[in-house]
């Protein structure tokens, strides 16, 4: 259920991008799932397959990259990747750590087929602004 709501939001965002780029169709959607994102890749995949049919992604694949948890230690300042959910700095064993990456699901890239003429006409392809890197803000709490 939670994965379905994420896929609906993903399909909406990809749909807007496809319109902006005058895409004929979307062929691949790449997402990154962190260890603490609360998302199960298999369920995400099946939700994508279920919900994509009436959208520009009906022929698209979903590529999921799983990443660990990136933490920055407040005591020793070292940034480390955790592969298991042990909330401790592997360097100095302090438990005062800030999560800097891996607690989100991120849309990375969208591959689409575009009509060359339409592209020349609108002339704005590949000018999508980069999203703000909110993963670098301290997570709540």
């Amino acid at each position: 259920m939670h994965e379905e709501s994420l896929i609906r939001s993903l399909l909406n965002q990809v749909g807007e991008l496809a319109v902006r780029h005058a895409a004929l169709q979307v062929t691949c959607v790449e997402v990154e799932i962190g260890l603490l994102s609360g998302v199960e890749p298999l369920l995400l995949e099946s939700a994508f397959e279920r919900l994509r049919s009436e959208t520009c992604c009906h022929n698209s694949t979903l590529q999921i990259q799983q990443i660990g948890l990136e933490v920055c230690c407040r005591d020793c300042g070292v940034t480390s990747m955790l592969e298991r959910l042990v909330f401790q700095c592997p360097h100095c064993l302090s438990d005062s750590i800030r999560i800097t990456k891996g607690d989100q699901i991120r849309l990375l890239n969208v591959t689409m087929q575009t009509d060359d003429r339409a592209r020349t006409d609108c002339g704005t392809a590949a000018t999508i602004p980069q999203g703000e890197d909110s993963c670098l803000k301290p997570s709540s709490p």
């Binding site: 709501s5 890239n109 575009t114 592209r119 993963c135």
Partner: protein, 226 residues
Amino acid sequence: MSQTIVPVNRDLQADRKQIAEQLRQQFTQQGTLVINIVSSPGAGKTTLLQATAKHWADRFRMAVLVGDLATDRDAERLRPFVPVEQLTTGGACHLEIPLVKQGLARLPDREWDFLFIENIGNLVCPASHDLGEHLRVVVLSTTEGDDKPGKYPKMFRTSHAMVISKCDLLPYVPFSVDAAVADARVIQPELVSVAVSSLNGDGVAAWCEFLEQTRSRLLQQTETPS
């Protein structure tokens, strides 16, 4: 026809998080502490809110938005004590910010000291949705077992406080308050823990005191903007 790769690199929930942040700032400005109450089904969220309302009586203004899959039973239980608005999810397992905004629009008054959002009973999905709260409080009942924090790490990691509920049952169930607190602190060392029995009232004063102190800090924050 050609292939274009559009780089995005953006949090899928960025828009929702921004709306939640705006809501939080708005409530901070008006001095309302917003508390998102999460737990598994039947842990005692509604009974805790009843006990909270009775404890404060007329000392503080509180309101509740209560989420439920299909019924308004929890709202009916709270209605004799506080202004309450039902959020029915139609089967969804968690609350999201658009539902909260709809509920807020239906509440009669907006001048509250405390606004509680009682989430759907579920220790998984609600952890991934910021509802604009200042405090996320996870309620863990003594009948669920003291090993739950480690089994639901995201929920406990993203919570600020844990209420151990149904403590009147401690003599009859194999639950150690110390073990539950220790398990939770491995995941979230800053987690505040309060042991409560909403039925006999033990710990309710301490719980309310914690909320009052947190609100005082929020008010200081608005007086001296950093």
